[in-house]
């Protein structure tokens, strides 16, 4: 369970988050939508403790991570998968080593078991043939798949995805959205996705939230959003 209360963040004169309230239930997929620069990625970075809010609480499974020191946050993050917009794969490691990295860091598995787990996870994201490739040799979609494999290889129960479809063509966007949804449902992951891809978000999300002026203007199911009479929501979804 993830619970966000009264979250505020300013950068110099600009208020980016102005009292975000959000609750994500276990196993739920919530997509945060909003225009570019609306604070979606900033919210996600707060959820994993990469940024400290000016005010507010963020509870991850009952722990208020806002109060934690960096050493304790590192422990919390071991149980969270984070998919970056551009993948953020280590470019000096092969795909195999990138996916093996969290296992080598946080488990006592021997190399044979790590290899088995890496190959299973790569097969899950459809990259079983690319394990010896370097990130520079991958297409945009393949990079996101490899990064997704790295994010879930520890069987994390929480998954955060920052703009997973940005820079992809419509077909690849659909594929990666379906893949994230399928993995989240299979592994029963509590998933928060920051996105501006309305079409795919409406398809895969259990609930959607729309950020407007630093606040969640509305959080609800796809049907509720479609039926909303709020002028901003109507305009946003008519785009």
């Amino acid at each position: 369970m993830i619970r966000v209360n009264e979250l505020y963040k300013r950068f110099d004169d600009q208020a980016v988050l102005s009292g975000i309230e959000l609750e994500v239930r276990d196993g739920e997929i919530v997509v945060i939508l909003g225009a570019s620069g609306s604070g979606k990625s900033v919210l996600l970075r707060h959820l994993i403790g990469l940024m400290k809010p000016d005010r507010g609480r963020i509870e991850i499974n009952g722990t208020n991570i806002v109060e934690l020191r960096e050493d304790d946050l590192l422990e919390v993050r071991k149980n969270i998968g984070f998919l970056f917009q551009e993948g953020a794969l280590y470019d000096f490691m092969s795909v195999y080593d990138n996916v093996a990295f969290p296992l080598r860091e946080h488990t006592d598995l021997d190399e044979a078991s790590i290899g088995k787990k890496v190959r299973e996870t790569l097969a899950l994201v459809g990259l079983q043939e690319a394990d010896d490739k370097m990130p520079a040799q991958l297409s945009g979609g393949m990079k996101k798949r490899a990064a997704l494999a790295r994010a879930i290889v520890l069987n994390s129960k929480i998954l955060f995805c920052d703009e997973p479809t940005s820079g992809l063509d419509p077909l690849r966007s659909r594929d990666i959205s379906d893949l994230i949804a399928s993995i989240a449902r299979t592994m029963h992951c509590t998933t928060v996705i920051a996105s501006h891809d309305i079409h795919n978000s409406l398809r895969i999300a259990d609930r959607l939230g729309v950020i407007k002026e630093g606040k969640l203007a509305m959080v609800g199911r796809a049907q509720d959003i479609r039926n909303s009479t709020d002028p901003f929501i109507k305009e946003f979804f008519s785009e």
């Binding site: 590192l74 970056f84 000096f92 990295f101």
Partner: protein, 259 residues
């Protein structure tokens, strides 16, 4: 008024940056003192940094030694003291030239690479990604690079001194006509324990300075590919400045207490 405000802003940024750099060094030392060192990564980095700089250091050191011998032979010949060329070459290289010049070259080659590498990782979110995976990027990425720099530079400088002396030997023997055995013995006689270690101690400091500056600049790089270029240039420039300044201070200290 605007210019004054800008100067004030520059000073504030510099003080803020310097404070952050010191804090960063403290973080690195904390990991090292706690023994949280990835030795396989350190050796990997030592190999990369060492091999990368070896050829260019050999080339410049040989040339420096040779030029010193060429100039020394001309000057000393005027006083009828050509046989002291070996001493001149050996002492100049061991006490000053090799530590300083090789540090410059190392900073421009391995140091710049470190900054560019870390900077690119930074702008591509790889450093942040390390944190999201529950791993401290300082321990994983910075400690091995800084430690490797600290360990490999003294080795490279001893190598540079040997190659430089060989350059001087070639000129002294084949150009100035000094007998090889005489030149060799003069070189050995010239370098005392004090001479060698006064240069060597400096290299330890230079290794620390270059590793610190270059890793820090890479770690704080912002602004995409333009930022990587800007911070890399800054890292090399700061390394040069700090090497030159610390060399002056260290030389004075060494000469005061240990002549």
């Amino acid at each position: 008024m605007k210019a004054l405000r800008q100067i004030f802003q520059e000073i504030r940024d510099f003080v803020y940056g310097a404070g952050n750099a010191v804090f960063f060094l403290g973080e690195v030392l904390k990991f090292i003192l706690r023994g949280r060192i990835r030795w396989s990564d350190v050796f990997g980095q030592m190999y990369e940094q060492g091999v990368q700089s070896l050829f260019i250091i050999a080339l410049t050191s040989f040339a420096s030694g040779a030029v010193l011998a060429l100039q020394g032979a001309v000057m000393l010949n005027r006083f009828g003291a050509k046989e002291y060329v070996a001493q001149l070459v050996a002492l100049s290289l061991v006490r000053e030239l090799s530590p300083v010049f090789s540090s410059f070259i190392f900073s421009g080659k391995a140091g710049a690479r470190m900054t560019a590498e870390l900077g690119t990782m930074n702008v591509n979110d790889q450093i942040v990604a390390t944190r999201t995976m529950g791993v401290d990027p300082i321990q994983f990425l910075i400690v091995p690079r800084m430690l490797a720099c600290f360990l490999v530079l003294p080795i490279l400088i001893v190598f540079s001194e040997l190659v430089g002396m060989w350059g001087g030997f070639c000129v002294g023997v084949y150009d100035a006509g000094i007998p090889a055995a005489f030149y060799y013995n003069q070189t050995l006689d010239a370098i005392g324990y004090v001479d060698f270690f006064s240069g060597f101690i400096k290299t330890v400091f230079f290794g620390l300075i270059i590793g610190w500056i270059c890793c820090y600049q890479g770690y704080v790089t912002r602004g995409g590919s333009l930022g990587v270029g800007k911070y890399t240039t800054k890292a090399v420039a700061f390394s040069y400045i700090l090497v030159v300044i610390s060399n002056t201070v260290l030389t004075k200290i060494i000469l005061t207490f240990w002549k």
